[in-house]
């Protein structure tokens, strides 16, 4: 890993809070979101979805639909070639079922018609003959012998023999000998937990416009977190070369990980290819809930041993995750993250992924970690209560730090957990008095963060301004942060830089906006692209001054002679060099392409006070404070926004959000009325405390901040509620009926 990047420096612009570049467009309604794209001659596509949780598709007869006036094309799974690659085949079969509908809402056919009403009418004319199969939506039930098998033959060799055919993979992490550790404990607590699947709840539904021409070229506009990956997936499914498919991302109304794959994009492309006209597909909210990618649903057992003075002697977790109807690797991240906050001699996690008749999981901020850490942090809290120990002291005593061999293998470099815990301990919130019926909870959180493939171009305009082209859709303010870092490096004002997110033809490959990677990795590439441009500008100055290239250096936005021996020349500003560029060798641009390593892990601690109405089971969140290590907060508003947003989503997850399936295996609450994300009046002000422990792997010390904040809320709130009612809650969400039942008010 490249841990030599960071250099201490005084920042002039990084760390300030300038206006966001996309603000005016967004508040005036000018921003172009996915559904805003329109093309001449465009058709409207709609998708027919399975009303059954699990059914064999015996036949699809679209003749009546095709005969309807205004219908231009019908697409089914048979229109797609069957990809050899397992991963691609799964994504494709999720976009359009083949042979079997695997969950309620699974796409089985699509139409393109001249308008929405015709498309809707056509859907009703498609006759699908189903043979209904037994279904299973609960992860534990799916693991039992005799459970309906969602997909045959998907079990990897690492799954022990004799398990249900729904178990697709197994993973183990850890070190030491937990049994020996438990023997040394004064108290051992073992608990089982369940967490419901939740949805990212982004406001903008998926939308795509595809235009395939008869000579085999295609354009695709869509709302996505990663258009290069969209191109890879769609080109694979459509049998196209990457160069022939150009994907342009729209503005994005939230993603949180849910827009890191495709659902409607290949369908729109196939409809357009068959119809010979552009086709737009926009999901309804009902479709978003039923057929995009919620989180895993989980069932977890955790066992932890502790000495009287609060030292954890061993930890063990058994994690059963279901990523829906397809194999899913999120379990591995859950297993790795479960005990990451602790420095443990004996630790082990065992994980299984299980198929159920639910939609295919997609990422949701720190995928897999919130659930595992919820279970671990709940048991740690229970031990603290039982042993009468201060929960922050116990975390401090066991905290992972520089040199700790992490529970998932690597040894940590500089990390911010201890500093974060200490900040929480010092904060007035931690010792503020609580009234009768109120209680306080806390939890640590962790996320790995990611770097990845990144490519940035930086163009110096002849008027002295700068245009930056990057390839990652901006979901959290990254254009502002990228501009700030370039401004810092070039020494020109932030306002003179405009950063855009370009299509797949304009840049080399950029990994998806995920893993909290963009401010870190695109930032790093931007800094290096700026340095590349600076080098070129120094060269131009050297040329003008007729001195050696090495004799010129860059200071405060200008080329200056490096030392007295270089000669005496007045500084030549970026604007002056740019103005002369046509005469000194042509346009000036900087580039950087890299597969970024050195993403720094990030830790957070959340403190929350709640009050529970013992007669109705309603939980009120009274006060919330977040402490998180950001490495370096480039634009603190956005860092705070990520922290607050994560807490809000976590509050929803902890208290009310859940995928509710009926006995028939159909989703009962496919809308924001009954899928209850918090409303503004449900929330207290959320205070944020940013810590800056520089990441050695980034020139400015930046760590990703987007995912860690959704990790601690589940346990922090559950710990607070459990303390308030005097009973340990072991299931999420802690909806009012569950709380009344736990208290014993209702049977």
């Amino acid at each position: 890993m490249a841990f030599d990047e960071y250099q201490k420096r005084e920042f002039k612009q990084v760390g300030t809070r300038p206006n966001r570049p996309d603000g005016v467009d967004k508040v005036t309604g000018r921003a172009m979101y996915g559904a805003d794209m329109t093309l001449p001659g465009m058709l409207i596509g709609r998708i027919l979805r399975s009303p059954h949780a699990h059914a064999k598709i015996k036949s699809i007869d679209a003749s009546a639909a095709l005969a309807l006036k205004g219908v231009k094309a019908v697409v089914t799974g048979d229109d797609f070639a069957r990809p050899e690659d397992d991963f691609l085949r799964d994504v494709q079969e999720n976009c359009m079922a083949r042979g079997k509908a695997l969950y309620d809402g699974h796409a089985v056919a699509a139409v393109a018609a001249i308008d929405a009403a015709t498309a809707k009418a056509a859907l009703k004319l498609i006759k699908v003959e189903y043979e209904i199969l037994p279904h299973v939506t609960d992860v534990d039930a799916a693991m039992k012998a005799g459970a309906p098998i969602v997909q045959e033959g998907r079990t990897l060799e690492n799954v022990p023999a004799g398990m249900s055919g729904n178990v697709t993979s197994h993973s183990e992490f850890g070190h030491g000998d937990p049994a020996a550790g438990f023997a040394k404990a004064d108290k051992v607590v073992e608990r089982s937990f369940k967490t419901a699947a939740t949805h990212q709840g982004y406001i903008e539904p998926h939308a795509a416009v595809a235009s395939v021409t008869t000579d085999g070229k295609a354009d695709l506009w869509c709302c996505t977190q990663g258009h290069f990956f969209v191109r890879t997936l769609c080109a694979g499914m459509m049998g196209m070369e990457a160069s022939q498919l150009r994907v342009t991302p729209s503005e994005i109304g939230g993603g949180f990980g849910g827009k890191t794959t495709v659902f409607i994009e290949p369908v729109a492309l196939m409809l357009s290819r068959k119809a010979g006209r552009p086709v737009k597909v926009v999901m309804t909210r009902d479709e978003v809930f039923r057929a995009t990618g919620p989180t895993v649903s989980t069932s977890i057992d955790v066992k932890i041993g502790m000495t009287k003075d609060g030292r954890i002697t061993a930890g063990e977790a058994y994690l059963r995750y279901s990523g829906g109807a397809f194999p899913c690797g999120t379990i591995d991240m859950g297993g790795q993250a479960a005990f990451a906050a602790y420095d443990l001699e004996h630790v082990r996690t065992y994980g299984w992924n299980v198929l159920t008749n639910r939609p295919k999981e997609a990422a949701y901020r720190a995928p897999g970690a919130p659930q595992a850490i919820y279970a671990v942090e709940s048991v740690v809290d229970e031990l603290c209560l039982a042993l009468k120990l201060d929960p922050l002291d116990v975390r401090l005593k066991n905290a992972a730090k520089k040199g700790t061999k992490s529970s998932y293998g690597p040894t940590f470099p500089d990390i911010g957990l201890v500093a974060t815990l200490e900040a929480a301990k010092k904060h007035p919130h931690y010792t503020a008095p609580l009234a009768e019926g109120q209680a306080r909870g806390l939890s640590c959180g962790f996320w790995f963060n990611f770097g990845g493939n990144t490519c940035v171009s930086l163009n110096v305009n002849t008027d002295g301004t700068v245009g930056i082209t990057e390839g990652n859709p901006d979901i959290g303010g990254s254009r502002a942060s990228v501009s700030l870092m370039a401004a810092e490096e070039l020494g020109i004002p932030y306002e003179q830089i405009r950063t855009i997110v370009a299509d797949t033809n304009s840049l080399g490959y950029n990994d998806v906006t995920d893993g909290s990677r963009v401010t870190f990795a695109v930032g790093l590439a931007t800094i290096k692209a700026a340095r590349d441009a600076v080098r070129k500008m120094c060269l131009r100055a050297a040329k003008i001054w007729d001195i050696d290239e090495e004799a010129v250096e860059w200071k405060d936005g200008a080329a200056v002679p490096a030392g007295p021996n270089a000669g005496r020349f007045p500084p030549m500003t970026l604007a002056e060099i740019a103005a002369d560029s046509f005469a000194t060798g042509g346009p000036i641009a900087g580039h950087h392409e890299v597969n970024v390593d050195g993403a720094g892990v990030s830790f957070g601690v959340h403190l929350v006070d709640v009050e529970v109405d013992r007669d109705t089971g309603a939980t009120k969140v009274l006060r919330y404070t977040i402490f998180q290590d950001a490495g370096k907060a480039v634009h603190p508003d956005y860092v705070e926004g990520q922290m607050q947003g994560g807490a809000v989503q976590g509050i929803g997850w902890a208290l009310n959000e859940e995928y509710i399936y009926g006995r028939d295996g159909r989703l009962q609450n496919a809308g924001f009325l009954d899928y209850r994300i918090p409303v503004a009046s449900d929330l207290p002000p959320i205070e944020t405390v940013i810590l800056e422990i520089p990441n050695p792997g980034h020139p400015y010390g930046v760590r990703g901040v987007g995912e860690t904040p959704i990790v601690p809320p589940l346990a922090a709130i559950s710990n607070a509620v459990s303390r308030a009612i005097g009973t340990r809650m072991c299931e999420l969400p802690m909806s009012p009926p569950r709380i009344l039942k736990a208290i014993g008010t209702t049977a």
Binding site: G617, N656, D674, S681, D682, P736, P737, T746
Partner: protein, 287 residues
């Protein structure tokens, strides 16, 4: 689908009676339009009744109020005299939706959409409010309590619609209150709800009461036994406990995504007691 903005009551009832297919009346449209968009209903005829004479008026009548069927939540909420007399009705109606929805939503729509969880209905029932109904055969009056027939169903006959509600004159020391339970703080559907309308006599004791529960049965339920439990009391703990018990006994809810049978039953009693205390305080009662 045909749309008719009726100019007279006769035109509206006539068109509704003559239509062989599915009809809907358009008041605020906050249920109808949502259902249309979701594909839940495809009416052949929609009759807009908002423009009919008197439909948006609030007037004094026989010491009480006559409220036009198309009066929106925001309008009623601004009528100080009405809100002072019927705070429970006003708060139930105004709980519906958001500011935007309040500008459109009506009590008649809320009642005739016939959701067991409709927020304005329990207080109307507890208040003994009477609906005036226009139909092909003329006008008739029907207590609000008799209008819901089950989820999505009313006892109105073909061609009929509500033109106004009559709120009787208030006795001295009378007031009402409405409470609902929702897992969030707003923008949600009642999991259970309760309205209490009561009068405090000269002796400081409850002299008359009506209790109605929402979301705990196929229609709103009147609970005379709960009312009886508090009549003649100053809402002491024993009276309230008896009231809660009576409410629980009157519940016949379902288990669904919004709540369990046990939860709905228990909270209906809790809310009735809390609403009774609020109504009592509003009526000037002292514990």
């Amino acid at each position: 689908m045909r749309y008719l903005a009726a100019q007279s009551v006769a035109e509206a009832t006539g068109a509704l009676a003559a239509e062989a297919g599915v009809t809907r009346i358009l008041s605020g449209g906050t249920d109808v339009l949502v259902q249309l968009k979701a594909g839940m209903v495809e009416p052949d005829l929609i009759v807009d009744v908002k423009k009919l004479p008197g439909m948006r008026e609030i007037r004094a009548e026989a010491g009480g109020f006559r409220v036009g069927a198309a009066v929106a939540g925001a309008e009623l909420g601004e009528h100080a005299a009405f809100c002072a007399a019927w705070p429970g009705v006003a708060e139930g109606f105004q709980l519906i939706g958001s500011t935007q929805v309040q500008g459109r939503a009506t009590m008649a729509g809320n009642l005739c959409n016939a959701s067991p969880a409709a927020d304005s209905v329990p207080a109307l029932v507890a208040g003994g409010v009477v609906a005036r109904i226009a139909g092909p055969g003329g006008e008739r009056d029907l207590p609000v309590a008799d209008i819901p027939a089950g989820p999505g169903k009313t006892n109105l006959k073909k061609g009929e619609f509500i033109t106004s509600f009559f709120f009787p004159a208030r006795a001295m020391g009378a007031s009402d209150a409405y409470l609902r339970f929702i897992p969030r703080t707003e923008m949600d559907i009642a999991v259970s709800s309760a309205a209490v309308n009561l009068t405090i006599g000269a002796d400081g004791k409850v002299s008359a009461a009506e209790v109605a529960l929402g979301a705990v049965a196929p229609t709103v339920v009147r609970v005379p036994a709960a009312a009886k439990a508090i009549i003649g009391t100053k809402l002491d703990d024993a009276a309230l406990a008896a009231m809660a018990k009576a409410c629980e006994a009157a519940c016949n809810p379902i288990d669904d995504k919004r709540g369990t049978i046990a939860f709905r039953t228990h909270t209906a009693g809790v809310l009735a007691c809390r609403a009774a205390r609020i109504a009592h305080e509003r009526a000037g009662g002292k514990a």
